[in-house]
């Protein structure tokens, strides 16, 4: 087995009485994309900040690039690239200047930056925006500029905190393509997200955290196979919920309710579909179960207070 680039052991962090991260352990290996998924307030961002040495854990140990965090935070960060949840681009600089100024924080030389900046702008599909300021960019362009900026030091490991939150579908797809390209090129990515399609598409391995604790881990496929039935039939529309439940529950392995919708989880839904076809006034939708079902099963359907 390859040696981990970054490993967290038994991280604990609380703010007063609020336990944000609790005994969280994970590691990320070279060339993999690891997803940290969980609802808002699960402790994802706090975990990333601890990995960057910006927040000190109450207990636990972080080792990255064979060095201890936060003692060697600066040396560790020279191998990492970060895209934080909110853009921190310099509004007074052009795109090219943003990369230039950021490169200087890594002590990078002028000659290196002169070659590197146009490459990164091209990678981010921003070559024609080199002399525009971030204010003139769309949300997707800004995120790509943030990604380009995170790549200025050619990092081995990228930490991305919700890289596509707030982007439209086109911009998300462009971002995904770029991230997949980076993984193909051998970079490791630690990504937080609450978009399950994003996690399913990008991540080799997932860690589901809730209330600061790891509640599941594995590849997206393995997680679904382990925790869920193969198919889901969603039943909605105007119908007598109690009667449908009484009639059809036996045909599924498991039933969940959310508002006026019933979710029947079944490995073989054919009997269920047949029964439903006899009541055309009931609307239903039949699909394979996915990561979102898993996420909702593990973390619950109700909206969290304060989230």
């Amino acid at each position: 087995m390859k040696k981990a680039l970054l490993s967290c052991e038994q991280l604990v962090k609380s703010y007063g009485a609020l336990q944000v991260v609790n005994a969280l352990s994970f590691e990320i290996y070279p060339g993999e994309c690891l997803g940290l998924i969980g609802p808002n307030g699960a402790g994802k961002t706090t975990t990333l900040k601890m990995c960057l040495g910006l927040i000190e854990p109450d207990a636990g140990r972080i080792l990255a690039f064979d060095q201890e965090m936060p003692t060697h935070a600066l040396s560790i960060k020279s191998h990492m690239g970060v895209v934080s949840q909110f853009d921190t681009l310099d509004p007074d600089f052009t795109c090219a200047e943003n990369l230039q100024v950021y490169g200087r924080y890594f002590g990078l030389k002028k000659d290196y930056l002169r070659d590197k900046i146009p490459q990164l702008l091209e990678f981010a599909a921003l070559s024609n925006k080199a002399n525009d300021r971030p204010g003139a960019l769309s949300g997707g362009m800004k995120r790509r500029l943030s990604l380009a900026r995170a790549l200025i030091n050619d990092p081995a490991l990228l930490l991305l905190d919700e890289p596509t939150t707030g982007l439209d579908p086109q911009a998300r797809h462009v971002m995904w393509e770029r991230l997949q390209e980076l993984v193909r090129a051998g970079k490791s990515i630690l990504l937080t997200t609450h978009f399950m399609d994003e996690a399913e598409r990008l991540c080799d391995r997932l860690i589901v955290i809730d209330r600061g604790e790891k509640i599941a881990q594995g590849s997206p496929k393995a997680l679904i196979a382990e925790h869920l039935e193969r198919m889901v039939v969603e039943v909605y529309g105007v119908f007598d919920k109690e009667r449908v439940l009484a009639d059809l529950s036996a045909l599924a392995q498991r039933v969940e309710q959310s508002g006026e919708t019933l979710f029947f989880y079944a490995n073989d839904p054919s009997a269920l579909n047949l029964a439903l076809s006899k009541s055309p006034q009931i609307r239903s939708f039949h699909r394979p179960s996915n990561l979102e079902d898993l996420f909702l099963k593990l973390t619950g359907r109700q909206i969290r207070e304060g989230a």
Partner: protein, 255 residues
Amino acid sequence: MMRWWPVFLRNMLVWRKLAIPSLVGNIAEPLMWLIAFGYGIGSLVGQVEVLGQKVPYLLFLASGSICMSAMNAASFEALYSAYSRMSVQKTWDGILNAPIGLADILLAEMLWAAFKSIFSVTAILGVMVFLGVLLSPKIWLAWPILLLVGMTFSSIALIFNALAKGYDFFTYYFTLFLTPMTFMSGVFFPREQLPEWLQKGAAFLPLSQAIDLIRPLFLDRWPENALEHVLFLSLTALIAYTTALQLTKKRFQKD
């Protein structure tokens, strides 16, 4: 060890884009004070006695107001501008993801505010010399002292920056702290005019210490107890900077 430098340079590059309008503002205001008060009040007051020597009010005011300008320029930059970078634009958060620590950023901000202050001060000194207000050859010594004054006040301001929840907070700092200090430090009138009990305390205000150093130099004399004053300002700067660093670190642990 020079990790603060790229951060300082970043601030300078932004400023270079806006330097001319900001310089005009930085110089125009103190010069208006000087002209309005110096010539206006000066013609009523005539001469003021300083250290047993009668001097024109304009020169008296010039030596005080240059210290006030150093203080104001440094404070403004280390409050409003540093706060924008820290809290509004999140520039500091971006920098912290690079191999640069919070201590490096704060040092860069402190030195940057002092630099901006000395830049304005230099321009105002230039105008004073040009107008013939200032003739003393000892003005060269005033320059490094005013740089120290800038560092002292930017360090103090960074404490309030670390504590601020918004821009409004800084209004208090200016109106409750800096403005009274300006009146008690002898910028506009000699401290001897203050009630005796207040004089003793007022002598220990950082702005008073600065004026006690600068005013004699403007009059082509050597300041008394110069070493004590320099030590006082340096120590104030050091303590303020250390405090600001601790408070800023605490602030950044919270998020």
